[in-house]
Each structure stands twice: as structure tokens, then as C-alpha cells.
Amino acid sequence: MKVPIDLTVNGERYELEVEPRETLVELLRERLHLTGTKEGCGTGDCGTCIVLVEGVPVNSCLVLAVDIKGRQVLTIEGLAGEGGLHPLQESFLEKGAVQCGFCTPAMLMSGKALLDRVPGAGEEEIKSALSGVLCRCGSYKKIVEAVKAAGEKMGGKR
């Protein structure tokens, strides 16, 4: 029994038929081949599957695809705009915030949700906003620095 849904991912509209049990991360990775979103645990503990739904970071492994009907989803593949990389992506490169890179998409999306909401977020706010994503390379120091620098670059003032 498949359910018809429509949703917008990275600005592109899709009409799909999904299984009721299908999660958003499965839909993104397996149907749309947007493999930049990772699945590190499937139980909402590691945060590597974080994408933005209507601007809000969600663990896409915990969300059913049917519940995204009519919503706007932004994944890492949609973060860079026409004009090039997002300031967060630039900062991650400049500050050396990337190691193995597996958590990077989720860190970037969590950072974007924060900076959109709190443009000049300080260190404690950044740490708290990123605490839902695990990074076993332990890049936290440079990741926090990169988000902070991006916020400053984007003109966020406190």
C-alpha cells in the first residue's frame, strides 16, 4: 500500500509514492540519490542524518516520508547557492573543520539552522546547537570556530 506525496527538496518539487514505513533519510538517499545525507545509526542518536525541514533541523531517520507531504526540505546538496559555496561551507574549509567528513553535512545543516535563527550566535549557543551531531574524529573545536566565523562573515552582530 503506497501513499502518494509531494514534497520540495532543494527547491525541486517531487511527486512520489512512498511506503508508509519509509523514512525521510531512505527517501533522500535511495530514491532521490542524495547520498550527502548520512545514516549513522537509524535511531536518532548520532545526528549524521540531520536535514532542514522548513528550516528546522530534524533527524531524517526518525521522520516518516509521509509526514513530509507538502513540506520544504533542504539537504547538504542544496546548501551551496547559484553564487557558490555557503559561507558555512567556506568557513569549514578555511578553518579546517573537516576530517573524515561523514558528519560534515549534518554539522553544516545544524549550523545553518542556528545562524538563520541567531545570526551572531556565540560559542555556547553554537556548541548547544551542534550537540546533536556526533563527530568521532573529534573535530568539535574547529567546527565550532568555523560556525562562529561564518556567522561573523554573514554579518551577524550581537
Binding site: 540519490h33 542524495l34 547520498t35 550527502g36 545525507t37 548520512k38 545514516e39 549513522g40 545509526c41 537509524g42 535511531t43 542518536d45 548520532c46 549524521t48 539537504t75 547538504i76 546538496e77 546548501l79 551551496a80 559555496l85 561551507q89 569549514f92 574549509l93 578555511e94 579546517g96 573537516v98 576530517q99 573524515c100 567528513g101 561523514f102 558528519c103 560534515t104 553535512p105 553544516l108 553554537i126 556548541k127 548547544s128 551542534l130 550537540s131 546533536g132 551531531v133 556526533l134 563527530c135 568521532r136 574524529c137 573529534g138 573535530s139 568539535y140 573545536k141 574547529k142 567546527i143 565550532v144
Partner: protein, 779 residues
């Protein structure tokens, strides 16, 4: 030599694909016609398999293969061939693969796996390696004596001892006789999970006509896995092809076949269709590999002034059910239990013992992390008893340039004392402690370490300059996050004299990339870096020869820099691209170079006769100094700051060195304070990342990285290595700081609030008792 890229923190070359989500990891590999695998695992720690009924699995739509142990009657293991692809007759740990299914969808494969019925007859199991040493202990491998093993490592047939190693140097009894004080202590370090964010994943495909296997995997050592698989299957090195994807973290754990072996077993029965196997997080935590736990006894003789006279160490490693890289860990691990100190007389005993648990494997530090725990906590205890400052006693015994290691190897480029002094200065060593804030007490501690690299080992590479001046480097060293591609590109760009942006290093493919031992043992920058230096010099010379001919000048008067040919006066004559265009005349062409590095035969490895095997081509040194705050009411430890000073030889890319060190500090802190397996009858109960806790951004202390550069004479541009060492001193530095804060000495890891609280209570009671005694005593 002046460098344009080496020594600078350039943007990492794999950065763009990683920040845009385009990097392909093992879990992302997708092939036409691909099937999905699922595994049935043992629920028992030790049992005989009585019957496997697979009929239910075949009833699920879309099932293409159902494979049991007898279908793939091979064993593997790089050091002891003791591990079956799928269990045959008996299972030896909870989570051991018993059979596997391949189906059109993941869901179908899982459903089919659930419908398999396996009947077991439970057997007595053993979980503590000290128990497993006893004669009465259940035997895990009755056929151990028949297993193939590398000649270096001997076990004891008829027991659970998989490897035993003894090392005697000097006269340890004389050393103890010379000592003023003898310290005898026991320590324990717990197993931890590698927990890469990307779980083990592999895709395998089998081509029956050539008896050929292709495997896509995110291993950090394709050639080691290739060697092991070829040996197991009895085929040639050109019948198994490993193609590397990006690795989403490994930390040693991806140096063994976990998903690969299941994928290969299934692929043999799917008529050419590829099979993908991705471990769930539960499988990753409970059925991949762990850091080896170790029980360590240390006996150390010391003079009154803090100078060491002798050390005896007895280490029992918990191997788990199969050996994997355990023998190597147990052998190399013992060598660093002496710490970076001059100890004239030593006796070491290391035993690796089978238990009915998840397999112990390579884990960042490769044994050094374990033994540094014992060495450096005892060092602090010695300092305390002798009333010598912990920094001073370390400086007194610390190796300096020209000292000889226990085997007689002369140590060169020893930046150890600088790491001690600089880490100490950064943490404010010796400054008075702030007064406690309520129940919160502050303290400082430090720990230091040394680590060798596996020696000798080999790295090969090819460099190809295309006719448009772009360059491809074929190296078998995968990018595992450490910035391998970036560092190697920097070395190549400066060696050849071309822009960094003209170089590409594709992910390894063992059909094209020549042999490389592994991205392991902190060896890649040094070994592959040197191989690339050699190949780079070859193509540089070829280019200059061609330029000389083309420009009708003496090539020795020409220089190649940033892809342009200059004369002696620094005048630009022609670009490399123009030159190649001229030479190849619009047709195609390549300029090729090959590189090989092995430190074998280096005069730096000279040692006492018969002891050369434990020389290391470079020695890494590092010191961590920690400041903690302990809440004595809750037992919670907050790490406030870690100053981490490491002798890296030369920082080819300072920011990447910082990443390795900062990352290892976070990992070390996490291992020490948060991570612990909860087990019941061999079953790991905390099998999610909600219950097996890892450090998050909220646990991040202030980390100050200090890079010490000692310039290794044979290293590429002076570099040594840095990947592993930083994981070792964090735990003892934290424990020593806890002692400074509270007077409580923790000897067994992890340091949980419960454990610390109980220890604080015990201390309080002991103090109360002794005060009461004093009060009762007259006078």
C-alpha cells in the same frame, strides 16, 4: 629547501567534495543489479551449532542467496588464521556471524534472516582473560595448534593463549637490588568501541569465469585486506580487487574485514550480482571490533632521587574470540610500557588471551594507548611517594637525543623534553591551585608517551604527468580523514615544482595503485611521503632534461617551480604546459615516475645484535597536561583544559596536525570518562549510541595544541607522524589531575562518576578512621 606548500595549512584537497555532500563513502556505493545482505548472528557467547534451518528464508520474496558456514569453508586472519567467514560448528561470541542472506531489498534480506532457525547447544564460556588462562577454563580454539600463524608470534596450543612474548634486557634483579624504592601496582584499561560515524560497509561482486572478486570498501588498508583475502580464498593478487571509497572514520577498526567478509561470502552465490552489506549501529558496537582491554602489573625500581633502575611488566590482553591484529598489538604494545624513559633493566611479559567476547582489534595507538595508562599513572604515584614534582621526575628520566632505546637503537630527533616543558607551561604547572568552589575541586595532571612506527614497512607509488601538465598520483594510501591526500599532494607539489591544484590523488584501487602497507601506525606521511619524494624527483629530472633539450640549454641550469621553467637568474623561460605541448607535438603522452620507500637498511635502525627487530625508523613523543574540576558530591569530572604538545618531526600541514591532536584529545576524554560496555553473559547491553555515550560539542574542553618540530633526518621535509600518539596520554593526564584535585587514585578505567564517588567515600572513611585512631592514641 624553500617550500611553497609544505609547512602551510592549505585548504584540504578533499574538502570541497566533503562540504558539498559529494564524497562517496563505503555506505554510498551503489551498483546496477545490487542486492542487499543481512546477517544472522549468534545469541550465545559459546555454543555448538546443532542445526540451521534456512527453509523459512527462501520463502521471502526476492531472496537470492542463503549462505551458511559450510558453503564458504575458508578461514582468515593476518597473523593467526583462526576466523571462519561464517561460523562452522561452533560460535565463540555473541554477535558472531552464523549465516547470511542476500535479497533484492534490505527489508527482504532482514525478513529472511529473521526466518532462519538455528539450534544451539550452549557451552561454558569465559569472559575474563585472567580466568581464561586457568587450566580449567573452557577452550575456545581446541585446534589452535593446526592454525597457520606468522612465525613471529607463538601461542600455546591446548590453552587460550594466542600469543606470548617475553623480552629480557639487562639484569632486572640487579636493577631492583639497586633501587631505593620498589613500586608494585596493578592497572586495568577497558575495551572501547571505535564508533566511526560510518559503520562498516562493503559491496562485493564475483565473476565466476575468472574466479575474481571485486570489493568496494572504506578500509584504511586495502592491501592488508587483499593479502588476507587472497590467502583465505587461495587465489592470486590479480583475482581480488579492492576499490576504496572515502572512509567515514576508522581509528583502526576498519583495518579488519567485517562487512567485506560477509559481502564476499554472499557474492559467490548471486550469479554475478553485487551484494552490499552495511553494518547497523548495533552490529558496529557489538560485533565488529573493540580496543583490547588489558590487565597490567608493573613493578618499578627507583632511586631516591627519582631515577629508574628497573621495570618488570606483566600484561594480559583480552583478545576476544579471534585474533585479527591482536598479536601485533600485544607485541608492539609491550614495548612502550617503559614510557619514554631510560630504564636500564627490563623484563616484559605479554600474553594475548582468547575470551568469548567481541574481537579486539587495532585501535588508535595500537597497544601504546593501553600501556601508557599504566606507565603514566604509576609515574605519578612514584612522584607522589618520593615527593618529587611529577614534571621534574619525568624530565629526569626522559629520553634525549643520543640516548639508546632498550634494544640499543640510538634515538634521534627526540623532542620529548620540549613537549613536557611546553605542555607544563601552557597549563600553568606549579602555580597555586584555586580554592574549591563549594563541592568543586580543581587539579592538574600530566602524562607523556612515546610510540614507534611499524618498521620496516613499504610504500610504493606512481606519478604521471599528463601532456597538459596535470598530474595524477597513484598511491595505495586511502584518505581516512587525516588529510592523507592533502599532505601527499603538498609533498608532491613542492618536490616536483608544480601548483598544488594541478595534482589529483584518486582513491586507491588495488588493480592500479601499487602496494602500500596501510594507513596505520602513523606511517603514511613518512613512508608514502618519501615514496612520493622519490617519484617526484624522477619526474622533475625528466622534465628538466626535456626542457634542456627543447630550449637547447644545460638542464642543470634550469629550475621548475609552480609549473614554470626558470633559468638560473630566475627568468621565466616557458610554462610546463607549453613545454609539454612542444615535446608531444599535440599528440598525447605521459611522463612517469615511480617511488618506493622502505626504511630497511637505514643506519638509523642499528641496534644491539639480534635486537634490530624492535627498532623504529622514527619515534613519536607527546605530553598532555590537563586541568580538571571534580564535583566531590556527584563524582562528575569536568575537563577544563588540555595542553597537548607533540613532536611531529615537521608539520607538513599544521592545521591537519592540530586536527589529529584535538580529535585524539576528544576521543581520549570520551574513552576515559563516558565510554563503557555493559555486559551480561557476554552480551553487550548498551548497543546504541544513546546508551554507549560519546563526547559531544558540550564536552569540549579548551584544547591548546603545541607542535614541536624536531626535523627527522630521513623524513620527508623532516616529518615523522602524529595520528596515533595523541590518543595515549589523555587518560592518565586526566586521572593524575583528578588525584591532584581530590587525592583519589584511579587505577582502572573508565572513570565514571559512580566509581569516583565510591573512591571518594572510601578515602573519606579511611581518613576518618585514622583520625579516630590518632585521637584514641595517648600523647
Amino acid at each position: 629547501m624553500e617550500t611553497r606548500y609544505v609547512g602551510k595549512s592549505v585548504i584540504r584537497v578533499d574538502g570541497l567534495e566533503k562540504v558539498t555532500g559529494r564524497a562517496v563513502y563505503g555506505v554510498d556505493v551503489e551498483l546496477p543489479g545490487m542486492l542487499y545482505g543481512a546477517v544472522v548472528r549468534s545469541p550465545y557467547a559459546h555454543a555448538r551449532i546443532v542445526d540451521i534451518d534456512t527453509s523459512g528464508a527462501w520463502k521471502v520474496a526476492g531472496v537470492k542467496a542463503v549462505v551458511v558456514g559450510r558453503d564458504v569453508p575458508y578461514t582468515f586472519g593476518g597473523q593467526v588464521k583462526d576466523q571462519p567467514f561464517l561460523a562452522v560448528e561452533r560460535v565463540r561470541y555473541v554477535g558472531e556471524p552464523v549465516m547470511a542472506v542476500a535479497a533484492e531489498t534490505e527489508l527482504a534480506a532482514q525478513e529472511a534472516a529473521e526466518r532462519v532457525r538455528v539450534t544451539y547447544e550452549e557451552m561454558a564460556a569465559v569472559f575474563d582473560p585472567r580466568e581464561a588462562l586457568k587450566e580449567s577454563a573452557p577452550l575456545l580454539h581446541p585446534d589452535f595448534g593446526d592454525y597457520w600463524h606468522v612465525p613471529l608470534y607463538e601461542g600455546v596450543a591446548g590453552t587460550n593463549v594466542c600469543m606470548v612474548r617475553r623480552l629480557l634486557l639487562g639484569d632486572v634483579e640487579r636493577g631492583f637490588a639497586e633501587a631505593d624504592e620498589i613500586f608494585e601496582d596493578e592497572f586495568y584499561i577497558h575495551p572501547v568501541a571505535h564508533s566511526p560515524m560510518e559503520t562498516h560497509a562493503a559491496v562485493a561482486q564475483y565473476f565466476q569465469p575468472r574466479d575474481e572478486y571485486i570489493i568496494w570498501s572504506s578500509t584504511d588498508r586495502p592491501y592488508r585486506l587483499l593479502k588476507e583475502l587472497v590467502q583465505a580464498l587461495g587465489v592470486s593478487l590479480n583475482q581480488v580487487r579492492f576499490i576504496s571509497a572515502y572512509s567515514g572514520g576508522g581509528f583502526g577498526g576498519k583495518g579488519a574485514m567485517v562487512a567485506e567478509i560477509i559481502a564476499v561470502a554472499l557474492a559467490k552465490f548471486t550469479k554475478g550480482r553485487p551484494v552490499k552489506v552495511v553494518c547497523s549501529r548495533e552490529e558496529e558496537l557489538t560485533a565488529s571490533q573493540t580496543r583490547h582491554a588489558a590487565f597490567m602489573k608493573l613493578k618499578t625500581g627507583v632511586k631516591k632521587d627519582g631515577i629508574f633502575t628497573a621495570r618488570k611488566a606483566d600484561i594480559i590482553w583480552d583478545n576476544g574470540a579471534y585474533s585479527s591484529l591482536g598479536p601485533d598489538v600485544g607485541f608492539r604494545g609491550v614495548l612502550t610500557i617503559l614510557g619514554p624513559y631510560r630504564i636500564p633493566h627490563v623484563e616484559l611479559l605479554s600474553r594475548l588471551v582468547y575470551t568469548n567476547k567481541e574481537i579486539g582489534g587495532a585501535y588508535r595507538g595500537f597497544g601504546t594507548t593501553q600501556v601508557t595508562w599504566a606507565c603514566e599513572v604509576q609515574m605519578d604515584m612514584i612522584a607522589q611517594k618520593l615527593r618529587i614534582d611529577p614534571l621534574e621526575i619525568r624530565l629526569k628520566n626522559a629520553y634525549v637525543d643520543g640516548d639508546s632505546y632498550i634494544n640499543g637503537q640510538i634515538l634521534r630527533t627526540v623532542g620529548l623534553k620540549e613537549t613536557l616543558k611546553k605542555a607544563g607551561r601552557e597549563i600553568g604547572w606549579g602555580q597555586p591551585k584555586p580554592a574549591p568552589r563549594g563541592s568543586k575541586f580543581r587539579g592538574k595532571g600530566m602524562a607523556t608517551m612515546l610510540k614507534p612506527t611499524a618498521t620496516p614497512t613499504d610504500s610504493y607509488c606512481f606519478i604521471r604527468v599528463n601532456h597538459d601538465a596535470s598530474i595524477v598520483i597513484l598511491s595505495g594510501a586511502p584518505e581516512v580523514g587525516g588529510g592523507q591526500k592533502t599532505v601527499l599532494s603538498q609533498i608532491a607539489a613542492d618536490t616536483i615544482g608544480v601548483p598544488l591544484s594541478s595534482i589529483v590523488i584518486p582513491n586507491p584501487d588495488t588493480y592500479y595503485t601499487p602496494y602500500d602497507m596501510a594507513v596505520a601506525s602513523s606511517r603514511t606521511t613518512y613512508h608514502m611521503g618519501n615514496a612520493i619524494r622519490q617519484a617526484g624527483q624522477e619526474v622533475r629530472q625528466k622534465i628538466l632534461q626535456l626542457a634542456g633539450k627543447s630550449l637547447e640549454t644545460d638542464p642543470s641550469r634550469l629550475n621548475l617551480s609552480e609549473g614554470k621553467i626558470f633559468d638560473e637568474g630566475g627568468r621565466e623561460l616557458i610554462t610546463l604546459q607549453q613545454l609539454l605541448n612542444k615535446i608531444f607535438g599535440g599528440r598525447g603522452g605521459s611522463i612517469l615516475g615511480e617511488g618506493h620507500h622502505s626504511p630497511a637498511g637505514s643506519p638509523l635502525l642499528a641496534a644491539s645484535p639480534g635486537q634490530e627487530a624492535i627498532s623504529s625508523i622514527f619515534w613519536m613523543f607527546g605530553t598532555h597536561a590537563a586541568e580538571v574540576e571534580v564535583d566531590i558530591e556527584t563524582g562528575v569530572v569536568k575537563v577544563l583544559k588540555i595542553a597537548a604538545a607533540h613532536d611531529v618531526g615537521r608539520a607538513i600541514h599544521p592545521a591537519l596536525c592540530e586536527q589529529q591532536i584535538e580529535g585524539a584529545v576528544v576521543m581520549g576524554l570520551s574513552n576515559t570518562l563516558f565510554e563503557e560496555f555493559k555486559m551480561e553473559k557476554g552480551k553487550i547491553l548498551n548497543d546504541t549510541l544513546a546508551d554507549y555515550k560519546l563526547a559531544t560539542t558540550l564536552d569540549l574542553p579548551e584544547i591548546v595544541t603545541i607542535l614541536v618540530e624536531s626535523y627527522h633526518e630521513e623524513g620527508p621535509f623532516g616529518a615523522k607522524g602524529v595520528g596515533e600518539p595523541a590518543a595515549a596520554p589523555t587518560a592518565p593526564a586526566i586521572a593524575n589531575a583528578i588525584f591532584d584535585a581530590t587525592g583519589v587514585r584511579i587505577r582502572d578505567l573508565p572513570i565514571t562518576p559512580e566509581k569516583l564517588l565510591a573512591a571518594l567515600k572510601r578515602k573519606e572513611q579511611t581518613e576518618k578512621l585514622s583520625q579516630e585512631e590518632k585521637a584514641v592514641r595517648p600523647g
